[in-house]
């Protein structure tokens, strides 16, 4: 029983094998990709392993505190930011092997030419609660 985050990057991950940008896919290829992702999440819910899935807008703003009574300072978006998160899925699985297996399955989503994208996903374990038994 461990939770993992599967992170999908717009930028910052190594290049996918089938590395054609989505805006150059056909409409059917995009539909097939979206359907694959949705079916994947549905299947994980049925296996009792799904926790959450979200997509993020590509443009964000940096914000920081600027002292008492002053409005927050904002900056960006920065076009040159190296790492850009596209979205994530959170899974709750029995082993790291299972987490790797599911990440690989998600990475096989079809892209250009209907072939798998082979996209690199980043797998990050959640920090757990401390165990009750301490010695």
């Amino acid at each position: 029983m461990a939770k993992y985050l599967l992170l999908k990057h717009y930028r910052g991950a190594p290049a996918a094998v089938n590395d054609v940008p989505m805006d150059q896919w056909t409409s059917q290829e995009i539909s097939a990709h979206v359907k694959y992702m949705r079916d994947f999440a549905d299947r994980l819910e049925k296996t009792g392993e799904f926790v959450d899935s979200q997509a993020l807008a590509p443009e964000g703003t940096f914000v920081r505190y600027d002292g008492e009574g002053r409005p927050p300072v904002t900056d960006g978006p920065f076009a040159e930011t190296k790492d850009l998160i596209a979205g994530w899925m959170v899974i709750d699985v029995d082993s790291r092997e299972r987490a790797l297996e599911l990440a690989a399955e998600l990475s096989a989503a079809p892209g250009a030419g209907g072939r798998p994208v082979h996209e690199w996903l980043e797998l990050r374990p959640f920090l757990n609660e401390p165990p009750t038994i301490e010695d």
Partner: protein, 381 residues
């Protein structure tokens, strides 16, 4: 509204439905529906006979669910195929439910979820909250678990070790939500211990009680972890310790040692020391030696190295540690502690920082970061 009573009645209500001929999966769903209904209705309209109420409502739900033609046919077949079992004690029947819910064909997380629902009497929502997953996911995990054990007969004895393992997991791993999982695990282990004549069920119950007794002293009000050596031992629950020690002694007297008894013996030796400095580390090392004989798990040998460091000095502890892979979880945390005791503060601070980076839980990471910071400060950085 007595939720504890409701939970305690769950397995016997489920057993009654199964004895009337309902299959386990459908009966379990019906009992869950009755539980949810009880939680809704009882606060304003408490029943005179709680168990009778639950059986009536659950049985009605079962019949409603089985009403479709195909389901009815299936039910009649079951009723014909399997004669109603002869008189068996309620305790034995409940025990069989534990065996089924911990069946070896189930993954650990499925066995935990099914146990908490079918014999623990928790609702799907409560279990989902406790493990921080959506309710729909938890519902599917439980349905899937029930499909996995659909072909398992309830009248065959199961393996005690798998049941104890599931209860250990419930006790040791969970989040602090609205349901206290550690307390639930103790309640269920008490029932198993009462029904199952096995020294390891006593060992596990003692182990749980001895750790539960320290729980108040284990965290600060802000939630930071307090290591064993620094806990305020006046806050340990002496009544619970006495109960745990009593159960453990009776188990050890039967001379069938197992891992839970050995772990409980170590916890009992800690509980026995009024101050950390008075801990009988030599005896703790002996128990670790027993434990290593039972299970050569590197995690146990890592904990043994800590005990050796306390009993025979940090040099001996480091020598024991040297036999283990550096990639083990908590290896650098243990190495940091032993180097600090040996007086090598630079090395210790570096190891604590490395250990914090590798920690797998947040409280442990905070604790190790503080250790590194403390050493950096005393060296005037």
């Amino acid at each position: 509204m007595d939720e504890a009573l409701l939970r305690a009645l769950t397995p016997s209500v489920l057993t009654i439905l199964v004895r009337r001929g309902a299959d386990f999966a459908a009966a379990e769903d019906a009992v869950q529906d009755a539980l949810v209904e009880a939680l809704r209705v009882w606060p304003t309209d408490p029943p005179r006979d709680a168990k009778g109420w639950l059986v009536t409502v659950a049985w009605r739900r079962f019949l409603d669910a089985a009403r479709s033609e195909s389901a009815r046919r299936r039910r009649e077949e079951i009723l014909q195929e399997e004669p109603v079992p002869g008189p068996a004690s309620a305790v034995d029947d409940t025990l069989r439910l534990y065996f089924l819910c911990a069946h070896p064909s189930l993954s650990p997380s499925s066995a935990v979820a099914l146990t908490l629902r079918a014999v623990g009497g928790l609702t799907t929502r409560q279990i989902a909250h406790a493990y921080l997953v959506p309710e729909a996911t938890m519902a599917q995990r439980i349905s899937r678990a029930k499909r996995t054990v659909a072909g398992v007969r309830l009248d065959r004895p199961g393996d005690a070790a798998t049941v104890l393992r599931v209860l250990y997991l419930i006790f040791n791993e969970g989040y602090s939500g609205e349901v206290d999982l550690a307390a639930e695990a103790i309640r269920l282990t008490r029932r198993v211990h009462a029904a199952l004549d096995h020294p390891e069920s006593a060992g596990l119950l003692a182990l749980m009680l001895l750790h539960q007794a320290r729980r108040c002293a284990r965290t600060t009000p802000e939630g930071a972890l307090v290591p064993l050596a620094e806990q305020d031992r006046r806050r340990w629950d002496t009544g619970v310790i006495a109960e745990g020690v009593g159960i453990l002694q009776a188990a050890l007297a039967r001379d069938r040692l197992g891992e839970y008894q050995a772990q409980a013996a170590i916890a009992a030796l800690h509980a026995d020391a009024p101050r950390a400095e008075e801990t009988d580390w030599a005896q703790i090392v002996e128990w670790y030696d027993e434990l290593v004989r039972l299970n050569r798990s590197p995690v146990i040998r890592l904990n043994r190295a800590v005990a050796v460091g306390e009993a025979d000095g940090p040099g001996a502890g480091l020598a024991a540690l040297a036999e283990l892979e550096e990639s083990l979880p908590r290896h650098s945390a243990v190495a940091g502690h032993l180097h600090e005791r040996a007086g090598d503060l630079d090395m210790a601070a570096r190891l604590y920082a490395e250990a914090a980076h590798k920690a797998t839980d947040l409280a442990e990471r905070e604790h190790l970061t503080r250790q590194a910071a403390r050493l950096d400060q005393c060296r005037g950085r």
